[in-house]
Symmetry: C2
Subunit: 192 residues, 2 copies
């Protein structure tokens, strides 16, 4: 099939794949919708009809990678399940391949409210829903403190990861994730 | 004293104050070193001699506000002391007046390694040192779990705040800070 004949889901998929490829090659700042359109064999108006901005296009392209790793396993060991899911998400979005693009998108969200809203609605909220569901099951099984505030689960679990990704910019290793989870489960308070 | 005669610390102070004033008026994207120089009554080369970029200038200007609130009290109640210090820092940097500029600076740190390094060396590292010192004292007094990993203290205490500031972009209220501290002290693990 030639580019000119691609339509619908096939074209959408080609545009998003091209966005990630070009983004990795030239970086977010120099990525242009025109260049994506040219390489994907479509027109820029076709892209703008679906995505209002470069940030929105990149967000969708990154999320298209992420869908398969959002789910939590439920093996009965909630710390192990969180660890496994966070390792997978971080390997993908914060790994060497996509970390600069993902950080550029969070950067864009600081001055483009549309990108901020899309990041929250399309990435954060679904992940929060799954996290709270997994933690609710753990609480029902007596494996999570009844006092733990589930509304804070996303901020507390992923906050230390964003801190490293965006602020100290050190690598998000599995070892770091495991240490953070250990500290969050233990808590800061002395135990009797 | 006229602007033309200002020198040294006096001029430095005027440039940083002007940066914050202009930044609040026009936003980070439209802030220019030329405009800061004009309003502060100096030349842009004078500013560039001290600050290599707009991001570095803004960081110093924001930090000049923050110095007085970095210290932790030590009342013996470590949770209360953390709460008080974090309330003060957040009221300043994440308050309505400076939040857009502080977020713009973190945004800049995603593609300017100089700004990222300055943010870490001048803001994060000193705060981490003070936090670890306060928590070490608390541990010696038996008020902090001996198992708590002090190297993670900054990421765990401030990660959930950056998550709200940069990702969900909801207001950083005192109530939110208090809930986060409560959850971090209690931990996620069930208690006997």
């Amino acid at each position: 099939m030639t580019n000119a004949r691609r339509r619908g889901p096939d074209l959408t998929e080609a545009i998003m794949r091209t966005t990630l490829e070009l983004g990795q090659e030239v970086g977010y700042a120099r990525l242009s919708i025109e260049a994506v359109a040219a390489r994907a064999g479509t027109g820029k108006h076709t892209i703008y009809r679906r995505w209002p901005s470069k940030g929105a296009l990149l967000l969708d392209s990154l999320l298209s990678l992420n869908e398969s790793v959002l789910d939590y396993p439920d093996t009965g060991d909630v710390a192990a399940d969180l660890r496994e899911q966070i390792h997978a998400t971080v390997d993908l979005l914060a790994g060497e391949a996509f970390s600069p693009l993902f950080r550029a998108m969070v950067s864009e969200a600081q001055h483009d409210p549309g990108v901020a809203a899309a990041l929250n609605e399309r990435f954060i909220a679904p992940q929060a829903d799954r996290t709270v569901a997994r933690l609710t099951a753990a609480r029902d099984q007596g494996r999570l403190s009844r006092a733990f505030d589930l509304d804070l689960a996303m901020a507390i679990l992923s906050g230390p990861l964003y801190f490293r990704l965006l602020i100290t910019q050190e690598p998000l290793t599995h070892e770091y994730i495991d240490r953070v989870l250990g500290a969050l489960f233990t808590g800061m308070e002395p135990r009797p």
